[in-house]
Symmetry: C2
Subunit: 332 residues, 2 copies
């Protein structure tokens, strides 16, 4: 069973833990050699700070699947220290608001050095993966530079506008500045990274992780080649709602959805993604039991527990998604 | 009194502590406003590792004068940690032999970023100095890239040769590979950094720190403009021997001197530098009391205690050098 997952950072990482577990169980039961899961990861949160190229979502995925993540914080390395960050601040070097851990910096140094030497991000990601052995094929959505910028109102009347990097809006300003627009800068000219289109074309199922539908999944979908591949694949596309009972499970999806005029609800996200038969993304959609009764035209909706409390419950979510895929697949 | 000091890293830093103290005392006694001491620092040990531009001598000087140095190790920051270094090694990223501390890395990140942005090393050094306030005008010998490479015999018979960066020879191989030659790569085309020639021209005295005469002072002298400025200045040039009783006080001068055919002795180093009246560097030369009786044609030699055990003894060395300068100055 060839599973492709589109995912962002923290939520996506946790979901991938469940998918990996379920895929392993599945291949054992069927006596298959395990096809690695392919994870296509948002890179539009990437940012260069202090000369270091930082890929928050790729790193969250790599550290989580490689058991290097700080499980409580949900991002960055376990047993992290912050010496370099403190020293940079002592020099007055801006910015000081980004959580740049010492262990993490080693990753960024290697990545920056490889990128400067001309390696594409996908090759860097593979090289870093040799240490972390994520057990999942981790692909950046693109090797090109795409960065989400946020247009915010700059005064009380909202007559002046300025743009800032998503990380600045998210981390420095805690998403408290009124956003008017998210712009995935560079997406128009970006190609899918090597392997991405082929993986989607060859997939038995495509899962949309319960990640931020605007700035994680939304930016992955802003790459033309990926959107086209998803429209053309024969694999069913099944999503999992990041919204449970009207609030984001994690992260700030509820701050992002209204900006693009989408409803903060499980149904709202499904409608944002759209039904595949109408030119949208989804064949199936999992909502939490809290949202049982949700229905969206043209999409097979199923209510199951969607809290990723541990690997077992998350694997059960993945199982439920695969089951929906099988059903809609049969019907097709 | 305008004092210019040519210096390398660890020994040079300690010497500068003494010079700074003595210069301060001197200006107080004479009611002068304190002219800052100008230190011209070797940059040929500089190296780029893991994408970071590292300037060991400039950093030793900056940290020592700014009270940030590890006083026991003599290089790098006090209370240093090594998390990034360990993580880079866990990735298998080479090289692993360089002492890259976490606190130190902040310095290198800022320097690398500024250099990448087009600032010359002298401007970077000044910017970093805003934090450390060394109380001395610290100038790199050049803004151009000069790196000492070491040609070593690569087999027992010494028939094959290879070149490596000085840091690799010094730190990785503990200077144990038989060196045949030191090459200050890039020195031929290098200009003195802004302010260097003017400082030498305007100096009342030029002091040569008891630094490695081959790879620290020697490389500073390998810059044409600096050698010419020293030949032309009206200021007396007084050196302090880094060799006491036939052994280097610190560092590995005794490994470097024989490579260039110089004698490992206080007199040997003086002869290497040469008498100014014969087209060499020195008007005066301080040797340790152990080496009393040393004489070198054309150079005023004086024996005084040369162990830099604390700032007071080091300031007394500086005082003795200034006294010799005054004497040879009068005679001229």
């Amino acid at each position: 069973m060839r599973i492709v997952v589109l995912a962002g950072g923290i939520g996506g990482s946790r979901f991938l833990l469940g998918v990996r577990a379920e895929a392993g169980r599945d291949s054992q039961q069927n006596g298959d050699s395990a096809e690695p899961v392919t994870a296509i990861i948002n890179t539009a949160d990437d940012v260069t700070l202090h000369g270091l190229r930082i890929c928050p979502d790729l790193d969250s995925v790599m550290y989580t699947l490689g058991a290097g993540i700080d499980p409580e914080r949900g991002w960055g390395r376990a047993k992290e220290t912050w010496t370099v960050k403190d020293e940079l601040a002592a020099y007055g070097a801006e910015p000081t608001w980004f959580g740049l851990g010492d262990r993490d910096i080693a990753t960024h140094l290697i990545r920056t050095r490889m990128l400067d030497a001309g390696y594409p991000l996908s090759a860097v990601t593979e090289a870093l993966g040799e240490r972390w052995r994520p057990g999942v094929k981790v692909l950046p959505m693109t090797d090109d530079r795409v960065e989400t910028h946020v247009v915010v109102a700059d005064d009380d009347k909202g007559t002046n506008r300025r743009a800032m990097h998503f990380q600045e809006w998210w981390i420095r300003h805690h998403a408290e500045l009124r956003a008017e627009k998210f712009v995935p800068t560079g997406a128009e000219d970006a190609s899918a990274a090597p392997g991405v289109v082929a993986a989607i074309a060859a997939a038995d199922v495509v899962l949309i992780a319960p990640s931020n539908p605007v700035v994680s999944i939304g930016t992955i979908l802003s790459i033309d080649q990926i959107r086209t591949a998803l429209a053309q694949t024969s694999a069913p596309v099944i999503g999992l709602s990041p919204i449970i009972g009207g609030a984001a499970v994690r992260g700030m999806a509820e701050k992002c959805l209204p900006v693009i005029g989408a409803e903060v609800s499980a149904a709202g996200v499904a409608r944002l993604y759209g039904a595949r038969r109408d030119g949208g993304l989804l064949d199936g959609w999992l909502v939490d039991e809290t949202d049982a009764g949700t229905s969206v035209d043209g999409i097979e909706v199923r209510a199951v527990p969607l809290w990723m409390t541990d690997v077992d419950t998350t694997a059960a979510m993945a199982r439920a998604a695969l089951d929906v895929a099988q059903e809609v697949g049969k019907r097709a």
